[in-house]
Point group: C2
Chain length 149, copies 2
C-alpha cells in the first residue's frame, strides 16, 4: 500500500540527509525548522513554526530548546503577548545557513530524478497529506459507540 511506501520513503529520506547534516550537528527536523526560520521575514512564534511544518509545541518546544542549547536561536517571550515565544536567530544561526547551501543539490542527486518529476511528485504527495490531515469525510462509517454520557 501507499502507506508503507510513504513511511519507508520518509525514513530513507532522513537517512539520506543524515551524513549531510551531521557535520552541522543537525537532525532533519531541526534542519526543517531552521529552513522555516531562515525564510521568515519576522521572528516566528512556536505556533507559527508549527503551522508551517505541521508540528505542535510538544514536539517543537524541546527541539527549539536544543537549537537554543546549540547556540543557533534564542527564545524570548513576546512582550506584547507573554503567552507567545519568539524565535530569533543568533549570529551562528544566520551563519549556518550558508553551510547548508549545497544540501538541496546533494539531495536532488541522491534521488536520481529530474526536477520536473520531483515537483510533480511533491504536488501529489502534498495533496495526499492534506487529505489525510483533513477529515473531510463524506461518510464516516464509524459505529456511534458512547454517543452520550
Amino acid at each position: 500500500m501507499v502507506c508503507f511506501s510513504l513511511y519507508s520513503a520518509a525514513n530513507a529520506m532522513q537517512q539520506a540527509y543524515r551524513p549531510l547534516l551531521e557535520d552541522l550537528g543537525l537532525t532533519y527536523p531541526q534542519y526543517l525548522v531552521l529552513c522555516t526560520i531562515w525564510t521568515a521575514r519576522n521572528p516566528l512564534t512556536v505556533k507559527g513554526i508549527g503551522q508551517q511544518v505541521h508540528l505542535d509545541s510538544s514536539t517543537l518546544t524541546p527541539l527549539l530548546k536544543r537549537l537554543e542549547a546549540s547556540g543557533l536561536v534564542i527564545r524570548t517571550r513576546d512582550p506584547e503577548d507573554e503567552r507567545q515565544v519568539r524565535i530569533t536567530l543568533t549570529e551562528a544561526g544566520h551563519a549556518l545557513r550558508d553551510r547548508t547551501a549545497h544540501i538541496p543539490a546533494c539531495m536532488l542527486e541522491k534521488t536520481g530524478l529530474d526536477i520536473d518529476t520531483l515537483v510533480q511528485l511533491q504536488t501529489q504527495i502534498s495533496a495526499l497529506a492534506a487529505r489525510l490531515r483533513n477529515p473531510t469525510d463524506t461518510a464516516p462509517a464509524k459505529p456511534p459507540r458512547a454517543a452520550n454520557i
Copy 2:
C-alpha cells in the same frame, strides 16, 4: 521540496491510522510488522522482518517485545541456530487479523483517491525510496552527469 512533503505526509499518514489502530492497541509500526507476520508462510526471524520493513533489530526487538507483552506473538530462539529468534503468532495474534480487515478500505477512503492513482503514486514513491537507500548508485539508464568525484 519533496523531502518535506514526504516527511509531512508520513506523519499525517500515521495520524490517520491512529484512530483505527488504537482500538486494537496497536501503533502503525506494530501494525506494519504484524501485517508482515500475517502474510508469511513460516515463522519469520527478526532479520527477516527487518528486511521486509527496512528496520533493524534495535527498532524491532523492543517493538516485538511489546507485541509479546500484549500477547500477540511469541519470541523463541531457533533451535537450529540459536542466534536467531523466530516470531510466531499466538491465538490472539491470529485473531487480531480479522479485526483489521476494514482498515485498508478506511484508509483508502481517507485519501480520497482512486486505486489506480494510489498504485501509481506508490510505485513512484517506492522507487524514490529505493534510490535514497542506495548511496553507491551507478545510475541505471541515467546520463553520467557528475556521478562521482
